[in-house]
């Protein structure tokens, strides 16, 4: 039943009736580094420049703009007064894209990044927002994008996982820190070997990697030799090929005991490279360290690396927290792009930077010129992409004067997913897994659009 594998093969070979041309888009990227800003950074203060707002300080957001849209319970029934950003924007690079003064380092690579201002989502709260961004659906139980990719694309290296997740161990915006969930890098209904491996900042980077106290690598090797011989013997008696898999996975585990420490050991990185990422790079678990590790993983062909940096949920005191958060990410992110570029890796590594939604132009709590907070805003938000077939130095999509509604070229979460897959050479409508009677996809059942305007 179902698609016979042979049918699939004949289709690829061009024998099938509908297969006049290759069903696969051309692959521009081999791997992805996803910088996830958990908590939802304010597009109003970082990316979406709205100079007109300064004249409207503390004036009411017109009903014609908000159209009575739903807000969270935190600001439901409150007056919606405009809180313009206190941060200055200026044009950067040859391309002259507008960047906030909060991101001086990222501004130096402005020509490499494509700023998207027209992201939008249905979710208005963090949990469904992140779940939707990371798995394509607000409802838990679906595979994460990294799991889809390792399922669809297979492995590029034999000693490391295909999908690595690195949450920052600390961050500056220590308010309303939003939870992460294992489902954000889980495998959902896909076989769990596709789930993300979360690198730990304390103890072993990969769980249970180190030999326990009292076991050195010689003892372990000796034990594995006998274990393997015994398993071989049982295989010859029982005949189950799965026993061979067990043997090879035990050997892979042993290899990982050296390949992972080699990966996470940054002692041989030249001083100038370390300096590029900033002083925090010396602290294990920092966003800076994780950016450097992401580059090392890209070099080793880890397919999907996802960083989670929390602390962006600024309902109050936004300017203070924002400065801190930007200090955390600005320099390391810029360094990551430069570093990848220097090594010729940027052209086939797609880098994405985004949070789960945006923030309201109207203030939350007390509003002053230099102090305000912002509530959740799903109708529009900004993020950026770079490398891996993306046009640099451009703005894409437009919002209205209030950074409230998308007015041009909307990009929904599923459009972003479809575009990412496209860049990796995968047709999002063909990357399927039958489960519960449906051909499940990362992009869901509704039509998704490949944002071809931002692709080289």
């Amino acid at each position: 039943m179902g698609i016979g594998a042979s049918a699939f093969a004949s289709l690829i070979a061009g024998k099938g009736a509908a297969a006049k041309e290759s069903p696969f888009p051309k692959a521009r990227a081999k791997r992805v580094i996803f910088l996830f800003m958990a908590g939802a950074p304010s597009q109003v203060d970082l990316f979406d420049r709205k100079p007109e707002m300064h004249k409207l300080f503390k004036s009411k957001l017109p009903k014609s703009v908000s159209k009575g849209q739903r807000v969270t319970t935190m600001t439901r029934g409150h007056e919606q007064l405009v809180a313009p950003t206190m941060f200055k924007f200026s044009q950067q690079g040859k391309s002259g894209v507008w960047m906030s003064e909060l991101l001086p380092n990222l501004s130096t690579v402005a020509d490499d990044i494509c700023l998207v201002h027209s992201f939008n989502t249905n979710a208005i709260n963090h949990d469904p927002g992140k779940t939707s961004f990371c798995t394509g659906s607000e409802i838990p139980g679906k595979p994460s994008m990294g799991a889809w990719l390792s399922y669809g694309l297979g492995t590029l290296n034999k000693d490391l996982p295909d999908f690595v997740v690195m949450p920052s161990a600390f961050w500056s915006g220590k308010v309303n820190v939003q939870a992460l969930y294992a489902r954000l890098w889980g495998s959902g209904f896909l076989p769990s070997k596709f789930q993300g491996t979360s690198f730990q900042t304390t103890g072993d980077p990969v769980l249970f990697l180190s030999n326990p106290k009292g076991v050195d690598s010689k003892v372990r090797r000796r034990m594995l030799d006998s274990l393997s011989a015994l398993n071989q013997k049982h295989h010859s008696e029982i005949g189950d090929p799965e026993i061979q898999t067990t043997i090879s996975q035990q050997e892979m585990a042993f290899r990982m005991q050296s390949s992972v420490p080699e990966l996470t050991d940054i002692s041989k990185e030249p001083k100038n490279v370390l300096e590029m990422y900033g002083p925090e790079v010396n602290k294990p678990g920092s966003y800076a360290r994780n950016c450097l590790l992401a580059r090392r993983m890209a070099e080793r062909n880890v397919r999907f690396v996802q960083l989670f940096h929390r602390g962006w949920d600024h309902h109050t005191n936004l300017p203070v927290h924002m400065r801190g958060q930007c200090r955390d990410v600005d320099q390391p992110t810029a360094a990551l792009l430069k570093d990848l570029k220097m090594r010729g890796l940027l052209e086939d590594t797609l880098v994405v930077f985004a949070g789960e939604f945006g923030r309201t132009v109207f203030g939350q709590g007390n509003i002053a010129r230099d102090n305000y907070g912002r509530d959740h805003h799903p109708r529009c938000f900004s993020g950026w992409l770079a490398g891996g077939g993306i046009k640099g130095g451009m703005h894409y999509g437009e919002t209205d004067d209030f950074s409230y509604n998308v007015v041009k070229d909307p990009v929904r979460v599923r459009d972003l997913h479809a575009t990412m897959l496209h860049l990796l050479g995968v047709d999002h409508e063909r990357l399927i897994f039958p489960f519960q009677g449906l051909d499940q996809r990362l992009t869901g059942v509704e039509k998704a659009r490949i944002v071809s305007e931002i692709i080289i």
Partner: protein
């Protein structure tokens, strides 16, 4: 570039191969619509030409033949399907053409065209009359005659007859019975989740009486561990967990529910009542505590804490989650697909869905939880009383009421009493009554305060109106619907004006219900054979896999209902079969002809679940605690895991002592970060209902079993036991360890390999006393030599725990 594409193709190829597995070959030449044709039509056509009216193209549906939209209809001179005539059947031309504008499915559907084999089947079907059949799972199961088989001497058990008939039709024959040690190990794991202990094992190995096996089955079914093990599968299915699973992921308390599930299995509560209690336990006229606790099933969904989300959206999500659980657990159907539109494959309309929804949206509970509830209990809840406590509370209540009455009467008299002496004595009497009443109240409060609480289902007095929600949007109500069961299934009997959840529960366990029995049987079969008769245990609908042995599934389903839904009897029936008792040894021929063992010409062999692997390590090393029931426990896990995800500053703090050695089903389950010892070995996160687990074999699993510190401590404990007897020789010690862990005796070769390993480990540790010290930390061992010996034995046992045969059910 060509190379790249090739690479990608091969991964797709592997992925697809893995997903689709093998097609079940037809055992007879005759074309069957249900077996051969519906799966093709469903996969390729139903999305646009199926039950969903909204998306139906060209007003054509291929899921039925009759009607103006049906496949036999004639429109503008074309007939889609003309029984007996390929030439006149448009469908045939459209699936074989090369013309991209004509071919079905069209390229834009991104579905692959029909394969040659599929085309051949369609051809044969049309030529032989293009007959439709009703979908098997929606028709009541029928008992068919026991089949005639060639090898009549093999078995007379009906299960075996059905299985053998299938084998015969495919030219296969059954395997020998497994050896006794394998058999008792298999049985023990399948029924209790634990291996046999050495005395059971040795006794059984030499007991050649024919009734020995059956006695063992009965003994295992009566063990308390049977209920614990069976409960664990159920807890996956209903997504049981210790946290809310959303936003701040607060603690919650469903301990009483878990305890009830364990007891229900051990007391062999009929599956009909097992279902009734969970769906509608709160609606019995005088519900028992068990019935109320069981109704907590309706509260197991994920839930957000108050303050950020919109309550009306949260409410809608909760009900959706609840209905989804009912669909997966009791119907084996993906009902939630119909929350936004008519089901694409099953004949379930959006109206059906919301009619079902209407039974579950009348809960008297807040849609969001309070923040940081210490006891993890959110109303409505009940106190869980023992029967003694129940009696006492009843007594107290009636005594209090009596005194109350007396006091009121006395008060009235006192108020009008003129005589000061009499008045004084009345006042004194009142004070006395008062203090007596207070004493009783205090006792009652004392009992109540210390009682465990359980969250339960509670119906609102006034029935909430239910609308079809357009596109599944919580804030977009459409047509009003009333409570009902899906129209394509048999009708429900209403006991009142408005159907109740109890009516629904009774409909589920009505013997006419085609789904409930089959869905349950299939999962129990899966528990014993590794794969269900329908592989897609979560979906018996049109897109699910068709059963490998349909008559057998039906036979068992009928038997199950006739037995009064007796689960233990069913389990016994299955494990008593010869099919179950076959050896799992594989020959190249058996592997090629049936790689997944769907036709059961051998015993199944597969890696055990995470819980079984951990429990086995604790059990065989003498570490396992036998304590049953009660609050969840936290065995140690690597540092920093909770810290990396929490938003409320939670830190994991491991328990100590006996708690950390309890069976894994009692392990604390934080949905945001479940215990890695479980998830690495394919335990689901428990944020969605899961009817079957994946089984993978990965390096992280190898790392876990090699290096986990508690597992190593267990290995050391077994090493200590091995070393305890003073006058045992090396071979005896090795045999003891090997037999304890694997239930088998080592042969000569294994003896040699293990003693070689021991010697070289011993010399390693002798030459590095510090290393031996580190491994022996916390154990009382004197002298460097003895430490080296213990260290070497620990690693030897660690090797035994990592053998493929140890983690595998054979």
């Amino acid at each position: 570039m060509i190379i790249k594409i090739k690479q990608r193709v091969s991964t797709y190829f592997i992925a697809l191969g893995m997903v689709w597995g093998m097609a079940l070959p037809s055992s007879s030449k005759e074309i069957s619509f249900n077996r051969d044709i519906r799966p093709i039509l469903s996969n390729k056509c139903f999305a646009c030409h199926g039950p969903d009216e909204h998306d139906r193209k060209s007003k054509l549906r291929l899921d039925r033949s009759d009607g103006s939209d049906g496949a036999y209809r004639e429109k503008d001179g074309t007939i889609v399907l003309k029984p007996g005539s390929l030439e006149e059947s448009e469908l045939w031309h459209r699936v074989i053409t090369d013309d991209v504008d004509e071919i079905m499915p069209p390229p834009k559907a991104k579905k692959e065209p029909l394969t040659k084999e599929e085309q051949a089947l369609i051809r044969e079907w049309i030529e032989s009359g293009a007959t439709y059949e009703k979908f098997w799972a929606f028709e009541s199961p029928k008992k068919s005659d026991f089949p005639k088989v060639k090898e009549q001497g093999w078995s007379s058990n009906p299960i075996d007859l059905f299985v053998l008939k299938k084998m015969n039709s495919l030219g296969m024959s059954p395997s020998e019975e497994a050896d006794k040690r394998t058999l008792i190990r298999r049985l023990s794991f399948d029924l209790t989740g634990l291996p046999p202990d050495r005395s059971e094992l040795r006794q059984f190995a030499v007991d050649d009486r024919p009734e020995a096996y059956e006695e063992m089955v009965d003994r295992l079914l009566s063990k308390n561990q049977y209920g614990e093990h069976s409960a664990r599968y159920w807890l996956d299915l209903v997504r049981f967990a210790d946290t809310n699973g959303m936003h701040k992921d607060y603690y919650r308390n469903f301990i009483a529910y878990r305890d009830w599930v364990i007891r229900a299995f051990n007391e062999n509560l009929g599956y009909d009542n097992f279902v009734r209690y969970q769906l509608a336990g709160d609606l019995f006229s005088e519900p028992s505590t068990d019935q109320l606790v069981a109704s907590g099933f309706n509260r197991l969904h994920l839930i957000i804490d108050v303050g950020t989300a919109l309550p009306e959206e949260s409410f809608f999500k909760n009900v959706t989650d609840r209905v989804t659980a009912v669909g997966t657990a009791f119907m084996g159907m993906t009902v939630h697909c119909a929350s936004c539109h008519d089901h694409k494959y099953d004949p379930l309309t959006q109206k059906d869905y919301y009619s079902l929804f209407a039974f579950f949206n009348n809960i008297e509970a807040k849609p969001e939880t309070e923040r940081g509830l210490k006891n993890g209990i959110q109303p409505p809840f009940v106190a869980v009383l023992s029967s003694d406590q129940q009696k006492r509370i009843k007594e107290l209540n009636s005594q209090i009421a009596e005194i109350q009455k007396k006091a009121e009467a006395t008060k009235k008299i006192e108020a009008v009493e003129k005589d000061p002496v009499k008045k004084k004595s009345l006042t004194e009497e009142l004070t006395e009554l008062d203090s007596e009443q207070n004493k009783l109240k205090k006792e009652s409060e004392q009992i109540n305060r210390t009682l465990p609480l359980a969250m339960v289902m509670k119906e609102r007095n006034e029935v909430r109106p239910t609308h079809i929600m357009k596109r599944g949007q919580y804030d977009d109500p459409g047509e009003l619907v009333s409570r009902n069961t899906p129209e394509f299934l048999f009708p429900m009997k209403k006991t009142g004006e408005v159907a109740s959840r109890m009516d629904l529960a009774n409909w589920f366990v009505d013997s006419a219900n085609p789904l409930t029995g089959r869905v349950a049987i299939n999962r129990f079969w899966q528990q014993l054979f590794g794969v269900g008769l329908v592989k897609t245990a979560e979906d018996l609908g049109v897109q699910g896999e068709i059963p490998s042995h349909p008559e057998l599934l039906d036979y068992l389903a009928v038997l199950f209902v006739e037995s009064g839904w007796d689960i233990k009897a069913l389990m016994k029936e299955m494990v008593m079969s010869k099919t179950y008792r076959q050896s799992s040894l594989m020959t190249a021929e058996k592997l090629t002809s049936d790689p997944e063992n769907r036709f059961l010409a051998r015993g199944s062999r597969y890696r055990m679940d995470a819980e079984m692997i951990r429990d086995q390590i604790l059990f065989t090393s003498g570490m396992l605690s036998n304590t049953m029931y009660g609050k969840s426990v936290k065995p140690p896990q690597p540092d920093g895991l909770w810290k990396s995800v929490t938003m409320i500053g939670e830190r994991f703090k491991a328990d100590s002592g006996e708690s950390i050695r309890r069976r894994s089903l009692y392990t604390y389950w934080k949905r945001g970060m479940p215990p890695p010892q479980m998830t690495i070995l394919n335990a689901p996160i428990r944020d969605a209902c899961v009817a079957r687990r994946e089984r993978t074999n990965t390096p992280s699993q190898a790392l876990l079993l090699l290096n986990e510190s508690e597992y190593l401590k267990s290995a050391r404990n077994l090493a200590l036991i091995v070393l305890t007897p003073k006058n045992a020789n090396l071979a005896q010690r090795i045999a003891f360890a090997f037999e304890t862990v694997t239930s088998k005796l080592p042969d000569q070769k294994e003896q040699v390999m293990l003693s070689d390993l021991l010697k070289s480990l011993q010399s390693s540790y002798n030459s590095q006393p510090a290393l031996a010290d580190a491994l022996c930390e916390g154990v009382q061992v004197q002298g460097a030599g003895q430490k080296a010996e213990l260290a070497a034995w620990t690693i030897l046992v660690n090797a035994l725990y990592n053998l493929d045969i140890t983690k595998t059910r054979e």
